[in-house]
Symmetry: C2
Subunit: 260 residues, 2 copies
DNA sequence: ACCTCCCTCGCAGTTTCTGGGGAATACCGC
DNA sequence: GCGGTATTCCCCAGAAACTGCGAGGGAGGT
C-alpha cells in the first residue's frame, strides 16, 4: 500500500486529490519531527528502515564518510556487505562517494562515471550484494570538514526512477539534513574547548599559506617582517593545537576559521 | 495580504483549511522551480526580492562568502550598506558569518555571540543601515570549500519570529540550496581541466600530511621509504597544480579528494 | 591600575622540504 | 605490443621552515 504512495505525483492536478497530497506532505514532516526527537543510533537506524518502507524503496543509506573519529552508518544493506565494504576500503573506490565529494546537488547514479580502475569490479560486487541499479545520493557537508552521504536505492526502470526521484528529491534533501544533524549530535563526542579565535593577522597568515605562498611572499604582502609572520604562524599553531604548519592550516580551514 | 500568509500555521489543524496549506506548499515549489529556470544574476536577484515580498519579511539575503573568485550577493539591503560592508571588511567581524561557519543547521541570530571585539559596533551600524533585529541564517556548503549564507530578516517580536521561523525554516533550507546551486552555475566560470584523480598512495600521503605528521612519520606508517613518499607528494603537487606542499594539501582538501 | 591579548621586531641552530637528476616492476587500455 | 600510469627505490645540494630564546608598545576589559 505504502509502495503506491509515490504514484500520487499527478494527483495534485486534481483538486479532489489534494488532500492525499497533504498526506504526503505530512509524512515528510512526520519523519523530520521523528528525527529531531531521536536520541540513540538505534533510533536513527529504525527511522532509516521505516523510511525505506514508507517510501517503498529497496534501500536507504546514511553513510558518515567523514564525521567524527569513528565511521558510522545507518542503512538497510546487509551487515556482511557493510563489513566487506569497510574491509576492502571501498570508500576509496566507490564512484558514489567520489562523485558526491564534488557535487552539491543530489545526484542520480546514472550521472556517475563507473569506468574507473576499481569501479567496475566494485559495481559487480555491489550488485551481487543486493545493491540495486537505480540510486539517488545526497551529499551532506557540515563544519569541520564533515562529509556524509544519504542514498536511496531501488530496482526499477529508468522511467519509474526518474518519476520517483523528481517527486521526492526535495524530501530526501531535507531528510538527509535532519539525519546528519541528529547523527552529529549523537556520535560526535564533545566540542573541543580549544575554540579560541584566531587574530586577524593570524587568519591572514594562514590564509595566504593555504593559497600556496611562501613565508617570504606573505611577509611582503602583509608588509611585516618574516620574523613577525613566523610569530603569527606559531601562535596560530599553538591556539589550534596543531602539530605543524600544514596541520594548523588544514585545522583552521576545516573549522571554518579561514576561507579562500 | 501576502504578509498574513504565514499566520496560516495552525490552519492545517482544520480540515477545511488544508487547501490553503496546499497553497503554501505550492508557493515553495513555485520558487524552487523558478530558481531552477533562472539564467542570470538579475533573475536570482529578482527572485530574492519576490521571496521577501511573498513571505512578508523585511529582508532576504544570499551571500556567497566563498564561492568563486569574485564575491557575489543577491539581497534586499541597500547598495550603500553592501558597499560599506565590503569596504570595511565586515565579513571578518560579522558574527553571523563567524557563527554560520561553525554551524550545520539554520541558526537564529539570538543564538549568536554579539560580544566580540568588533561585533557590537558592527551591530550598531547594521541596525542603523536597516538590518532588522530578528534573523535566521542558513549555512550552505558546497564542494571546493564553497561557503555561502542565506538569511531572512525582519523587525518583529521574539514570539512572532519564533513562530515564523519554525513554520518556514524548512522552506528556507530548500530555497537556500536552490539559490546556491543556481548561483554557482552562473558565476563560477569553468571547471578546471586539472581534474585528474590522485592515486590511492598520493591520497594517503596528503591525508597524513593534513593530519600533521612529518614525512618521516608518514613513511613509517605507509611502510615505504621517505624518498618514495616524496615522489607521491611531488606528483600530487603536480597533478593539483599546487605551488608547494601546503597548497597541495589544502587544494586536495577543498576539492574533496582527501578527508580526515 | 593591572592584566591579557595583539602587533611588531630580532638571533641562532637544527630539521625538514624542494628540485634536479635516474631506474625498476607491474597493470591497464588501445 | 606499446604508451601511460602506479608503485617502489636511490643520491645530492640548496632553500625553506621549525624550535627556543628575547623585547617593547598599544588597545581593551575587570
Amino acid at each position: 500500500m505504502m509502495r503506491s504512495l509515490w504514484q500520487l505525483r499527478n494527483w495534485r492536478e486534481c483538486p479532489v486529490r489534494k488532500l492525499a497530497w497533504v498526506a504526503v506532505v505530512t509524512r515528510l514532516e512526520m519523519f523530520l519531527d521523528a528525527l529531531e526527537e531521536s536520541q540513540t543510533p538505534d533510533d536513527v537506524q529504525s527511522l532509516v528502515v521505516a523510511l525505506r518502507d514508507s517510501y517503498g524503496i529497496s534501500n536507504a543509506v546514511y553513510h558518515a564518510v567523514n564525521v567524527g573519529p569513528i565511521p558510522y552508518a545507518a542503512l538497510t544493506y546487509t551487515p556482511e556487505w557493510m563489513q566487506y565494504y569497510h574491509d576492502q576500503k571501498f570508500v576509496q573506490v566507490d564512484p558514489v562517494v567520489k562523485g558526491a565529494l564534488q557535487k552539491f546537488h543530489p545526484m542520480d547514479w546514472k550521472q556517475l562515471d563507473w569506468s574507473g580502475r576499481g569501479s567496475r569490479e566494485f559495481l559487480g560486487e555491489a550488485i551481487a550484494a543486493g545493491v540495486c541499479n537505480q540510486g539517488l545520493s545526497v551529499p551532506i557537508r557540515g563544519p569541520n570538514g564533515q562529509f556524509a552521504l544519504f542514498t536511496i536505492n531501488d530496482n526499477c526502470s529508468d522511467a519509474s526512477w526518474e518519476m520517483f526521484s523528481k517527486e521526492f528529491k526535495r524530501d530526501m534533501m531535507l531528510i538527509s539534513h535532519y539525519i546528519h544533524r541528529r547523527v552529529v549530535d549523537i556520535i560526535v563526542p564533545e566540542q573541543d574547548v580549544n575554540r579560541r579565535d584566531l587574530s586577524p593577522r593570524e587568519t591572514d597568515s594562514l590564509k595566504y599559506l593555504a593559497l600556496g605562498f611562501s613565508r617570504g611572499q606573505i611577509s611582503e604582502k602583509l608588509k611585516i617582517s618574516e620574523h613577525t609572520l613566523r610569530v603569527y604562524i606559531d601562535s596560530a599553531r599553538g591556539k589550534l593545537g596543531a602539530l605543524n604548519t600544514i596541520h594548523a592550516v588544514t585545522t583552521a580551514f576545516s573549522r571554518g576559521l579561514i576561507s579562500f
